[in-house]
């Protein structure tokens, strides 16, 4: 079943008196549990597509559907709830809250809405995530006391804390060295395998594109290649 579906999506940004056609009509499906890479050079439209899937930007034309629901026209409140409950975000620049420590940063999304977990369950779950990302000894440290790789690990744990169905990662390794990049991608892959979370990440680094089991290549706002490792043409029911 397609967890994300884009139909003829276009995005035009005004730039002074001219317009920038960032996405020129893109359609594809992402299946539940996919580990998908949206690849392409800078300016190809991969971040724009990621933003529209993440409901933090809206298409100029076309439709974006999450779990069969068209996101266009939803109220700010419903969209915010959707982001909180269904989506997790990993940012290129980590975007950790500077005044909160590792534990608090990971805990933060849980404080934004009602959670079914008890206080103890929450605590255990956060501790487990911290351990899983290898930051057990760093939980009381602030982001500025961590390396880039450690920060991105915190961001991954934060993205997973609400147990979202989809995690969106915008160039998660762009600010990391190659060794750390590999470690981060492997961690994401492990979570994808263990928890069945759908990962959608954008990158222009050819070395990590290959890790994905579904690759969408973009060029000038259009799909140049839509390739699945398992060669399936549609999502399985």
């Amino acid at each position: 079943m397609a967890i994300v579906e884009l139909k003829d999506v276009k995005k035009i940004y005004p730039l002074g008196k001219t317009e920038v056609h960032a996405v020129k009509g893109v359609s594809f499906e992402i299946c539940k549990g996919d580990f998908i890479s949206i690849a392409g050079p800078s300016g190809s439209g991969k971040s724009t597509i990621l933003n529209m899937i993440g409901c933090i930007d809206v298409p100029t034309e076309g439709t974006v559907m999450i779990n069969g629901t068209e996101t266009g026209g939803l109220s700010d409140k419903i969209i915010t709830d959707l982001r909180h409950e269904v989506l997790g975000f990993i940012f290129q620049s980590f975007n950790l809250i500077p005044v909160l420590n590792v534990y608090e940063n990971i805990e933060f999304p849980l404080l934004l809405g009602k959670s079914k977990m008890t206080k103890v369950e929450k605590s255990d779950w956060i501790d487990m995530l911290i351990e899983e990302v290898g930051l057990k000894d760093w939980s009381n440290h602030k982001p500025n006391e961590l390396s880039g790789g450690q920060r991105q690990r915190v961001a991954i744990a934060r993205a997973l804390v609400t147990k979202p169905e989809i995690v969106l990662a915008d160039e998660p390794t762009a600010n990391l060295d190659s060794v750390t990049s590999d470690a981060i991608i492997n961690l994401m892959k492990k979570v994808n395998r263990d928890l069945g979370t759908t990962f959608i990440f954008s990158t222009h680094d050819p070395s990590i594109v290959g890790v994905a089991d579904h690759i969408i290549r973009l060029r000038d706002g259009l799909i140049s290649e839509n390739y699945r490792q398992d060669d399936a043409r549609a999502c399985r029911e």
């Binding site: 409901c55 409140k77 975000f89 940012f91 933060f108 934004l112």
Partner: protein, 511 residues
């Protein structure tokens, strides 16, 4: 600790320079408010005490007037409206005596007189004096602030006047008398009344000094009510009816005073050109020669019957312009005033009850004027402070755009962002406001400890005594803190709007 407070406090530390700018503004703001409000309260209390204790009481009752009335008269344009006497005085007095909150009352008549001294050089003086006609016993019971430093207080039934030391000093300065004017000396008072100007010679029986200084009170001279009534033409004794014969009436109705005094009273030679005999004239005017026994007896007979005078004097004792009340507490005064005005309306009595400020008239406005000036200054300072704080908070929001965008992307509703930004400014306001409040109290404590002395009577009024001792008011101190918190919230309106406009996509713009 809730995460919002955690974020707020840590953000204060994180953005310490901006927090400090806002904090210092708040500290200074609360400091000014606490010190200023407390000093104004001190002045207020001092003035209120000086007026209520010295001469207004808590409640003033007068006859109804169109213009404002104080103990110094009616403030009508051109002074055309006269101070009315209190209508149904006895009925009102009887009603007040039954009011539980009224501790004491006294009556008063107010007049102004040109004070002169007969023996003084013609080019010296005169000066205008303020006269309060009182019933000494009642008045002293209500206003115990006047301490006799020389002579004695007025005694019931006696004529005379007591003057303040300030007044006596001023009089001696003006008239340059040697020896100085003092107790036992007589002064001439010329006062305007309903029947023109009247001159009375009045003896100074005492000199007083005020326990609590008051600018206006120190210029008051207290005179026996009956003398002031006569001077103001209020004495009903002159209105007693006397039966006159036709001839006597004819004489009094003549408009030719020259003709009347063409009679030589000593020689007895008359050159009257009207139909009036010399005897008739002398029987009325009692200007007959000493050897005309019959005429004297006739005159005595005329004035022997004093029934009408007695009635008039009795009526006079109920002729007052003011009735001043002291209530058991200052707070009770407002209730008493309301009750009295309702009672006047219900009973069709054309009288009015007002508070001490109305009674004190223009003199009570000192504190109000100071408070207005202070408040205007505070408003101006607050506007500047709001602008500076708004700018600082806007910079803060702009710098944190990515952070706010990230929160929105992670699922924070606008309400959460509103709470977060508001909590931050609230926390700053509370913390720095508290510091400002403590500093304000410390400054006031230091002022009290130093003990600034009042170097003149005006300052003595403002300081509510010879030394400035700030009167702390918890309400005022906490109120100042609250005002600064509100100012912080006002300064936060625009930055908050900016924060709420931050879209989640701004999270992607972080570098």
């Amino acid at each position: 600790m809730p995460v919002l407070f955690r974020i707020a406090i840590r953000n204060l530390r994180q953005h310490s320079s901006k927090s400090l700018i806002i904090g210092i503004i708040m500290i200074v703001g609360v400091l000014i408010l606490v010190v200023g409000n407390t000093l104004i309260n001190t002045i207020d209390t001092g003035i209120e005490r000086a007026f209520i204790d010295n001469y207004t009481g808590n409640v003033m009752i007068t006859g109804a007037t169109r213009a404002d009335i104080s103990l110094f008269g009616v403030r009508s344009p051109g002074g055309l409206e006269e101070t009315p006497t209190i209508p149904d005085y006895d009925l009102i007095k009887e009603h007040i005596e039954q009011m539980p909150n009224v501790e004491a009352m006294t009556n008063q008549i107010t007049g102004f007189g040109i004070i002169n001294i007969e023996k003084a050089d013609e080019d010296k003086g005169p000066y205008m004096g303020l006269l309060f006609g009182i019933e000494p016993e009642q008045y002293q019971e209500l206003f115990r602030n006047a301490q006799i430093v020389e002579g004695q207080y007025l005694k019931p039934g006696d004529e005379g006047l007591i003057m303040s030391q300030t007044n006596v000093d001023m009089m001696n300065e003006i008239f340059e008398m040697e020896p100085a004017v003092g107790v036992g000396d007589k002064i001439l008072i010329t006062a305007p009344g309903s029947a023109g100007f009247k001159i009375r010679e009045v003896e100074i029986v005492g000199i007083y000094k005020l326990k609590h200084e008051s600018e206006a009170a120190s210029y008051i001279s207290y005179i026996d009510a009956q003398t002031l009534r006569v001077m103001k033409g209020m004495n009903l004794g002159n209105q007693g009816e006397v039966d006159l014969s036709e001839e006597e009436t004819s004489l009094l109705s003549t408009d030719s005073f020259d003709a009347m005094f063409e009679v030589d009273a000593f020689s007895g030679e008359a050159e009257l050109d009207f139909e009036m005999t010399e005897d008739n004239l002398f029987s009325i005017l009692d200007l007959d020669s000493a050897d005309d026994e019959e005429a004297v007896v006739d005159a005595d007979e005329i004035f022997a019957d004093d029934t009408a005078d007695a009635e008039a004097v009795s009526a006079e004792s109920s002729t007052w312009e003011y009735l001043l009340l002291k209530t058991d507490t200052n707070r009770a005064a407002a209730r008493v005033i309301t009750e009295l005005n309702l009672w006047f309306a219900e009973n069709g009595i054309n009288a009015r009850a007002q508070d001490w400020k109305a009674a004190a008239g223009p003199f009570s406005t000192t504190a109000d004027v100071i408070r207005i000036v202070f408040n205007v200054a505070i408003i101006l300072v607050a506007i500047v402070a709001i602008i500076i704080m708004t700018n600082t908070l806007v910079i803060n929001v702009v710098e944190r755009t990515a952070e706010i965008g990230t929160m929105r992307a992670l699922g924070a509703h606008k309400g959460y962002i509103r709470s977060m930004v508001t909590t931050e400014i609230f926390t700053i306001s509370v913390i720095f406001g508290f510091v400002g409040m403590l500093l304000g109290i410390l400054v006031l404590y230091i002022i009290g400890w130093i003990g600034f002395e009042a170097t003149n009577p005006f300052l003595e009024i403002l300081f509510a005594g010879p030394v400035l001792k700030p009167v702390f008011s918890l309400f005022s101190v906490l109120g100042s803190w609250l005002i600064v918190i509100v100012i912080g919230m006002i300064a936060n309106i625009y930055p908050l709007r900016l924060a709420l406009k931050v879209q989640p996509i701004k999270a992607m713009m972080s570098e």
